[in-house]
Symmetry: C2
Amino acid sequence: MALIVQKFGGTSVGSVERIEQVAEKVKKFRDAGDDLVVVLSAMSGETNRLIELARQISDQPVPRELDVIVSTGEQVTIALLAMALIKRGVPAVSYTGNQVRILTDSAHNKARILQIDDQKIRADLKAGRVVVVAGFQGVDEDGNITTLGRGGSDTTGVALAAALKADECQIYTDVDGVYTTDPRVVSQAQRLDKITFEEMLEMASLGSKVLQIRAVEFAGKYNVPLRVLHSFKEGPGTLITIDEEESMEQPIISGIAFNRDEAKLTIRGVPDTPGVAFKILGPISGANIEVDMIVQNVSHDNTTDFTFTVHRNDYQAALQVLQNTASEIGAREVIGDTKIAKVSIVGVGMRSHAGVASRMFEALAKESINIQMISTSEIKVSVVIEEKYLELAVRALHTAFELDAPRQGE
Amino acid sequence: MALIVQKFGGTSVGSVERIEQVAEKVKKFRDAGDDLVVVLSAMSGETNRLIELARQISDQPVPRELDVIVSTGEQVTIALLAMALIKRGVPAVSYTGNQVRILTDSAHNKARILQIDDQKIRADLKAGRVVVVAGFQGVDEDGNITTLGRGGSDTTGVALAAALKADECQIYTDVDGVYTTDPRVVSQAQRLDKITFEEMLEMASLGSKVLQIRAVEFAGKYNVPLRVLHSFKEGPGTLITIDEEESMEQPIISGIAFNRDEAKLTIRGVPDTPGVAFKILGPISGANIEVDMIVQNVSHDNTTDFTFTVHRNDYQAALQVLQNTASEIGAREVIGDTKIAKVSIVGVGMRSHAGVASRMFEALAKESINIQMISTSEIKVSVVIEEKYLELAVRALHTAFELDAPRQGE
């Protein structure tokens, strides 16, 4: 008998029929003897409907009041699921974030969970009840309703699992697990049985939108085993867990992530003096633009080139800022490119294997794909290439690192 | 500078445009220097939509969970109004029933208010904020969300006014006050400037659906001056207050109420023994049927006739029960009639005026309207007549008691 926290997202509870299906699934676990805490999002579309209503009053809705409105979305689904469970003879009770005191800071619309009072939930579990908790919401010290920001329901699930020391936190989604890469790009992409928190973070931040990054960080921090599963298909999903030393056989690379949302900016002929990086990036971050990759080459003739990437939406603004900087610091020119893509290989295995990067570069060279930027971390190598080569690069790397599923009939 | 509690119903907050209008009205009072607590219902139709959603899961939705769902309706409107006020430069804050701890018993879907913690509200008022409170909802001792049942927002308004010792509780509706009778029946019906709680209770229970009976009872008990006003038209409305001795000039009769929802049952030739009334009405109330008027005449030859009225929806059930009773106690026959109407004259003035009833009977006799039943209380005389004479009777009485507005041009 295990204690499991299950989180179902908006599409999984998008209609009364779907909620009934979720109730069936929960009942199955309950019948098997597990203690269950279920975290729900609002019905898909509902949060947007509520925000739209608020926008009709004001373009800039008061954050405190916006939270009062949008938090009603989950309040409806939790009660509906509790009813559907009780109808099936499964004792159940619903709680809002306020009722189980999911204490957050007061940063409305993007609050962070500080503490969860698990007393009420434990008492209900002990009494044999399934506890259904509203995701995405909490309450601050003064009793104001807060929300965690988009996708916050994953975080609620993980935080509850951590507070209750649950055996597993299951995140039900519309995919049946985490894949070696996007199956729409590589048909032979495979579902991973296991992946580490670190790898998952790299995969998620690079564009695999299965889980909220915050939730994965949280799970890693408190070592909550996290499992991604399909809401309505059976299957083991993907378990996200700590890097277990014993798994010697783990592949070097777990997956290939990619991202088409970035743009590249280069400032050329920058006088190479101490503090120059700050002079360039200070105004960028001052304009609230986030920078992803940063590359600075060794200097020639006391000048250097400095390249970085930003989200494509911020490209024009960043270009403007950079041009001002260039004339201030006496740089030669500013050039930019939006037709780029970032491809990354991710895997904790590469820590102990030399030559991973060169194997990557070799695979790309074989396809005559030019590498524009390189950036590495302990468990990741990222390259920026011309956007049109993206699919070709991902497929080549997927094969080179032996991630392809066996073809049918093989 | 007064402290006013204002309550706006579902149609008054039925759309974003309407909510903006309510904000304008509230701002006007605030600008005039009043302290304001505003109580809101859900947008019209929203509560029904939410109940329907719950019914899709279960014909008999779990009451606790139903309250979790339906309470979201008011939660949306309070935040929207707070936003609309803040947009206009009026500091405002919204609270759910739970947040200001409107403590109720645990009778889900029909809870009763036990206590209100006014500390938070007083602090906000002191800080110059308009406090917007969700009507219709509260929280029980264990932190479960409760609702007060239909129309409960009026009760929330009055309870808040009582707790805060407000100068007035204003109930905004789609009528501009309480009338001497239904203006659809008597075109010369007049708006009353004042009416007593007792009169209002008689008017309300007799079919003038302006205010919730519970709210009027509550207001009377705690002596909260209650004013009925139109949400979007200017005007003084009707003040419902205690019977002030000084108003010597008050009319004998304040209004004419009527009701077409009743049916009449008579059991004839009942052996007149002690306890016979209980033998007849016991089984009726045992079948959960509410009885309104009861008349028993003096007996002839040791038998008597016993007549009472019930809601028309309960007529068939009551007839069945009564026929069983008749054979048990050896009564002669049971007869019934659904084509009846009840007409009442209501007024605290009649306490000190003899002859009010006879003036009523005279007016009806003049129109050749036969009286089938009569029932009187301190401030009311009710008669049952044939339904088809209803409008004629109401008009005749309205004129006889000098309630008609002067005709235009007179």
